[in-house]
């Protein structure tokens, strides 16, 4: 297999509140022999909130990010569901609307850039599944996670709207019965746990505006995983991670029941199975203690 190489859009969270996600991404990429060129010029994607304020500005900024991936001639890989949604949505809109693309490019020309539409945008989870292959991960596992019941938490912005998301996937995902993260757990030797909330929302994006709604959603998610006997949860999204890892106090109050489980980033789970150390994976940066390593 030829060596896999991607342009990495880290997003902001990996650089700030989830440093463990950045560390584990790099550690796992190294183990898998995947080369990641970091797009250091990239700006924040706007997380759907800039889009609410100034849609055109968000298109221009996201198109700029993609233009840098295009300059490398590489597929852009994201490590945040919301980065993925906003970037893929920008790409979809520009690729399907020549007028809009021309308007955006008129702005990008002011800084000597052009959005062509030549780079794909995909989340690291799907890059691993589609390009690297779960069979190969399975072969590389040195410390199978067979002792653990692991609850996958997919995060809305990787699975909905599925029509947009599936544009870039070879292995199509059904938003009502997603399988990618379950398959990854199985490839790592773990036992995947089924529960109602695995494809539901954690509430992150309304945490400030609608704190009660957001806290109930987080509480329901963790409670669902606990009731299904999960030892821990795993997610491909650093925003879901923040919500599930750091907000369980509010969530417990909101649903009237103490809930808390360790939550791993998907990269940390792969890293554990491949034999990375706890410090390489940044496990000490969790608020809910990772109590089993």
């Amino acid at each position: 297999m030829k060596e896999l190489k991607y342009a990495l859009f880290t997003g902001c969270t990996a650089k700030e509140s989830t440093p463990e996600q950045m560390m584990s991404t790099l550690a796992v990429a190294k183990k898998l022999g995947i080369e990641l060129i970091e797009l250091t010029e990239a700006s924040c994607c706007g997380a759907s909130h800039l889009q609410d304020y100034d849609d055109f500005l968000s298109l221009v900024l996201n198109a700029r990010n993609i233009a840098y991936a295009e300059k490398h001639g590489l597929t852009m890989v994201t490590i945040c569901n919301t980065c993925q949604l906003n970037t893929a949505m920008t790409k979809h809109r520009l690729d399907h609307n020549a007028d809009l693309k021309a308007k955006v490019n008129a702005k990008l020309a002011e800084v000597g850039l052009e959005y062509k539409g030549t780079s794909q945008v995909t989340h690291f989870l799907y890059a691993i599944i589609d390009d690297f292959g779960l069979d190969k991960i399975k072969e590389m596992v040195v410390k199978p996670l067979s002792q653990f019941n692991i609850a996958p938490f997919y995060g809305c912005h990787n699975i909905r709207p599925s029509e947009l998301q599936n544009e870039t996937h070879q292995n199509k995902e059904n938003a009502y019965n997603p399988t990618s993260l379950d398959d990854l757990i199985i490839a790592c030797g773990g036992v995947n746990v089924d529960y109602n909330e695995k494809n539901k929302c954690c509430g992150f994006h309304a945490e400030l505006q609608a704190p009660h709604t957001a806290a109930v959603l987080t509480g329901n998610a963790v409670a669902g995983a606990m009731d299904a006997n999960a030892d821990w949860m795993v997610t491909p999204c650093p925003l879901c991670h923040l919500k599930l890892d750091t907000q369980t106090h509010h969530a417990s109050v909101a649903i009237g029941r103490d809930v808390s489980l360790p939550v791993l980033h998907m990269q940390q789970m792969i890293g554990l199975a491949l034999g990375c150390t706890a410090s390489e994976l940044g496990l000490k940066h969790h608020v809910t203690k990772v109590n089993f390593v």
């Binding site: 902001c12 969270t13 650089k15 700030e16 509140s17 989830t18 440093p19 250091t40 010029e41 990239a42 700006s43 924040c44 706007g46 997380a47 759907s48 909130h49 800039l50 889009q51 609410d52 304020y53 100034d54 849609d55 055109f56 500005l57 221009v60 900024l61 700029r64 949604l85 702005k107 990008l108 002011e110 800084v111 809305c156 912005h157 909905r160 709207p161 599925s162 059904n174 009502y176 019965n177 109602n196 539901k200 929302c201 992150f204 994006h205 309304a206 400030l208 505006q209 609608a210 009660h212 709604t213 957001a214 959603l217 750091t246 106090h249 509010h250 000490k284 940066h285 969790h286 608020v287």
Partner: protein, 325 residues
């Protein structure tokens, strides 16, 4: 044409009669189905061949009246449009059939949709305009202007989005995706004169657009591809453009992204919370922030990372901004 394949499917059907039952229960039927059948065919077969008391709504059989919406394995569908082969492909051959909202069930798959209609009525889902009583020509809408509706007028009020929306489920004031799609549909209509009124209505805290958690479920579920969250985003934009956005935590949260990107290229997470909540409101986040800080999860202001070529980002923000707050 492909041969019609037959297969056995087990249907677990939600049963409940408000007048005689304390609790709902499920009846199980195993039927041989052909793949081109729709769910309504199955409901009819159960009613006609097995249990005449099974209750559900249907009328047009053509995806137009919107009354037959139910859930299959948690997915909102129109019974008359949803094909068995798609459901079997997604969920295998055990299918659970439930009303859109189990807690609103009156009889079996029939629910009380009062909250849906009440919220729908609030947004004034009709055109208001000055009509000439003796017009001499038609009041035509150009194709260009009609496109502005973004097909929001395709909504058949089936309620699938409303009863799949997590914000509606938790916050009973929240108007919900269908009401917002309707508000947009009429506010985007060039003939309408109450657009601003509707923007005020959808701009309220708790009930309005700001309490949407952005789960995208309404876009996923809608059988008519109305894409309500797209209209909700449009309403946000229109609220800012019309200058009626109030200065509150929700609006500052959106605007804060622009400030932060202008300064760092990236989002300054801590500053976003401070700016959104204000200097007093931010205090309630201190306990969590301290825990995060102790785990190395908070970047202090003087260590904030910046995007390379920040000057490009700043230049684009100057030249491409379209709204002011």
């Amino acid at each position: 044409m492909e041969a019609i394949t037959k297969q056995n499917v087990t249907f677990k059907v939600f049963r409940f009669n408000e007048e005689t039952d304390y609790l709902p229960y499920y009846n199980t039927y195993t039927l041989e189905v052909t793949h081109e059948e729709v769910v309504l065919d199955i409901l009819n077969r159960i009613k006609w061949d097995h249990d005449g008391s099974l209750s559900y709504r249907r009328s047009c059989r053509h995806g137009i009246c919107g009354v037959c919406s139910i859930k299959v394995n948690g997915k909102g569908i129109l019974a008359c449009k949803s094909r068995l082969f798609e459901l079997i492909e997604a969920f295998g051959n055990e299918l659970t059939i439930e009303p859109l909202s189990t807690k609103r069930a009156i009889k079996d798959l029939i629910i009380d949709k009062k909250d849906f209609w009440d919220k729908h009525a609030v947004v004034k889902p009709f055109l208001t305009g000055d009509i000439d009583e003796a017009p001499t020509s038609e009041h035509l809408v150009s194709p260009h202007d009609a496109e502005k509706l973004l097909e929001a007028d395709y909504c058949i009020q089936c309620g699938a989005c409303h009863y799949s929306c997590p914000a509606v489920e938790i916050n009973d004031q929240f108007m919900g995706p269908a009401a917002f799609a309707s508000a947009y549909r009429f506010s985007a209509d060039v003939r309408d004169t109450e657009s601003e009124d509707r923007l005020h209505l959808t701009n309220e805290e708790a009930s309005g657009v700001w309490d949407c958690v952005k789960c995208m479920e309404c876009a996923e579920v809608c059988p008519k591809e109305v894409n309500p969250i797209e209209k909700i985003t449009k309403l946000h934009n229109m609220i800012f453009e019309a200058g009626i956005a109030k200065n509150n935590v929700a609006t500052r949260h959106a605007v804060g992204f622009a400030h932060s990107i202008a300064k760092h290229g990236l989002l300054d997470e801590g500053e976003l919370v401070r700016y959104s909540e204000g200097n007093i409101g931010v205090l309630k986040h201190v306990p969590v922030a301290l825990k995060m800080f102790s785990k190395g999860k908070i970047v202090l202001p003087w260590n904030m990372p910046k995007s390379d070529k920040l000057d490009e980002i700043q230049k684009l923000i100057k030249s491409s901004s379209t709204v002011k707050f």
